[in-house]
C-alpha cells in the first residue's frame, strides 16, 4: 500500500465500513446515513465514483449480480480493503491518543 492511500476520505471510510457485509448502492447510502445520524449523506455521483475507484483498487468486489430478476448489484469488502481500513483505524487511534496532549498544560 502506498502512502497516498491514507488518510481515507470520509466517504471512502464509511463506504468500506458499510461493505463489511454485502450491500448494494442505495443500501450503502442508507447505511452511512444511519451510522452517522444523518450527518453524511452520500450523493449518487460521489458514491458511484468511489465504487469505481475502490473496485479498480480491488478494495471491494462484486458479491452478486442477478440480472434475470433485476436484483441489485451487491458489493463486499476484500482482504485488501480490510487492510486499508485497518491502516486508517491505526492512524485515527494515534490521532486521538495524541489529542490528549492538549490537556497536559492544565
Amino acid at each position: 500500500m502506498t502512502d497516498k492511500d491514507t488518510p481515507l476520505t470520509e466517504a471512502v471510510y464509511y463506504i468500506l465500513l458499510a461493505l463489511r457485509k454485502p450491500n448494494h448502492g442505495y443500501g450503502i447510502i442508507q447505511e452511512v446515513e444511519r451510522l452517522t445520524g444523518g450527518r453524511v449523506m452520500l450523493g449518487a455521483g460521489t458514491l458511484y465514483g468511489a465504487i469505481q475507484t475502490l473496485e479498480k483498487k480491488m478494495w471491494i468486489e462484486i458479491y452478486s449480480v442477478d440480472t434475470a430478476s433485476r436484483k441489485k448489484k451487491e458489493y463486499v469488502i476484500t482482504d485488501r480493503g480490510r487492510a486499508a481500513f485497518e491502516a486508517e483505524r491505526a492512524r485515527l487511534k494515534e490521532l486521538l491518543r495524541n489529542a490528549e496532549l492538549m490537556e497536559e498544560l492544565e
Binding site: T9, E10, G43, G49, I51
Partner: protein, 231 residues
C-alpha cells in the same frame, strides 16, 4: 414547449432547469441547444447534470445505479448527462464531499482545455485559408471559432477559480493567495505580439497576421481575467 439555450456552465444550466421545474416545466430531452419541456407539477423534479466518461452514452452499470437511487436519466449529450429525481423522493445532490466535487470539476476543466486548444487551431487554420488562399468564408468561420475559443477559455478561467476554492476547502485552511496582479495571458500575448513584429519583414504576410490575431485574443482574455481577479 421548446426553448433554445446554449450553456457552457453546467451550474448555470442546472439552476435554469430547476427554475423551469419550479415553474411547472420539466425538461424531458435535449438536442443541440434545444430543450423540450413538458408540463409538470410545480417543483416536481430536481435536476442535476453529471459529467460522464463516454461520449453520448452512459454505461448500463451507471444507468442501473442511478435507477436504483430513484434517479432518472433524461439525456446524454457529449460527456454531459442530464439527470432528475422526484423532489418528493428526497434530497438530490450528486457530489456531496469536497474531494469528489474537486475531481468532477477537474474532469470538466480538462475537457474545456482540450476544446479551447482545438478551437484555437481550427481558427488559425481558417485564418490561413482566408488570407493565403483568399477564401472569404474562412474569415467568417475564423471569427466564429474565435468567439467559441474565447468563450471556452473564459470557462477554463472560471473553473480554475472554482477548483481553487475547493482546493482551499480541502486543505482546511485558506491559503495565502499569491495575488498576481497581471494575468499570465497578457504577458504571453505581448510576447507573441513582439514576435509578430520581429518577423514582420522576414515572414510571409499571412503568418504575421495569424500571429497578430492570436496575440490580440490572448491579450483580450488576459485583460478580462485581470479585471475579474481584481474585483
Amino acid at each position: 414547449m421548446r426553448k433554445f439555450r446554449i450553456y457552457l456552465d453546467k451550474d448555470k444550466e442546472t439552476a435554469w432547469l430547476n427554475e423551469m421545474s419550479a415553474q411547472g416545466w420539466a425538461a424531458k430531452s435535449f438536442f443541440a441547444g434545444f430543450y423540450q419541456f413538458e408540463a409538470c407539477e410545480k417543483g416536481e423534479y430536481v435536476y442535476q447534470i453529471d459529467f460522464g466518461t463516454k461520449l453520448f452514452a452512459a454505461s448500463e452499470d451507471y444507468r442501473e445505479f442511478m435507477r436504483e437511487a430513484g434517479i432518472e436519466l433524461v439525456q446524454t449529450w457529449g460527456y454531459w448527462i442530464i439527470l432528475r429525481k422526484k423532489a418528493s423522493e428526497g434530497n438530490f445532490e450528486l457530489y456531496t464531499d469536497v474531494p469528489s466535487r474537486l475531481a468532477h470539476y477537474k474532469k470538466i476543466r480538462r475537457m474545456f482545455k482540450v476544446v479551447t486548444i482545438f478551437e484555437l487551431f481550427c481558427m488559425l487554420f481558417e485564418l490561413y485559408l482566408g488570407f493565403v488562399n483568399g477564401v472569404r468564408l474562412g474569415l467568417v468561420s475564423a471569427l466564429l471559432l474565435g468567439a467559441i475559443f474565447v468563450a471556452c477559455m473564459n470557462m477554463v478561467i472560471q473553473l480554475n477559480d472554482r477548483i481553487g476554492q475547493l482546493q482551499e476547502q480541502m486543505d482546511g485552511i485558506g491559503r495565502v493567495r499569491k495575488r498576481r496582479t497581471v494575468s499570465g495571458l497578457i504577458v504571453s500575448g505581448l510576447l507573441l505580439n513582439s514576435l509578430a513584429i520581429m518577423i514582420e519583414d522576414a515572414a510571409v504576410h499571412p503568418v504575421k497576421w495569424v500571429l497578430q490575431i492570436a496575440a490580440i485574443l490572448l491579450m483580450l482574455c488576459g485583460l478580462v481575467q485581470t479585471c475579474r481577479s481584481r474585483k
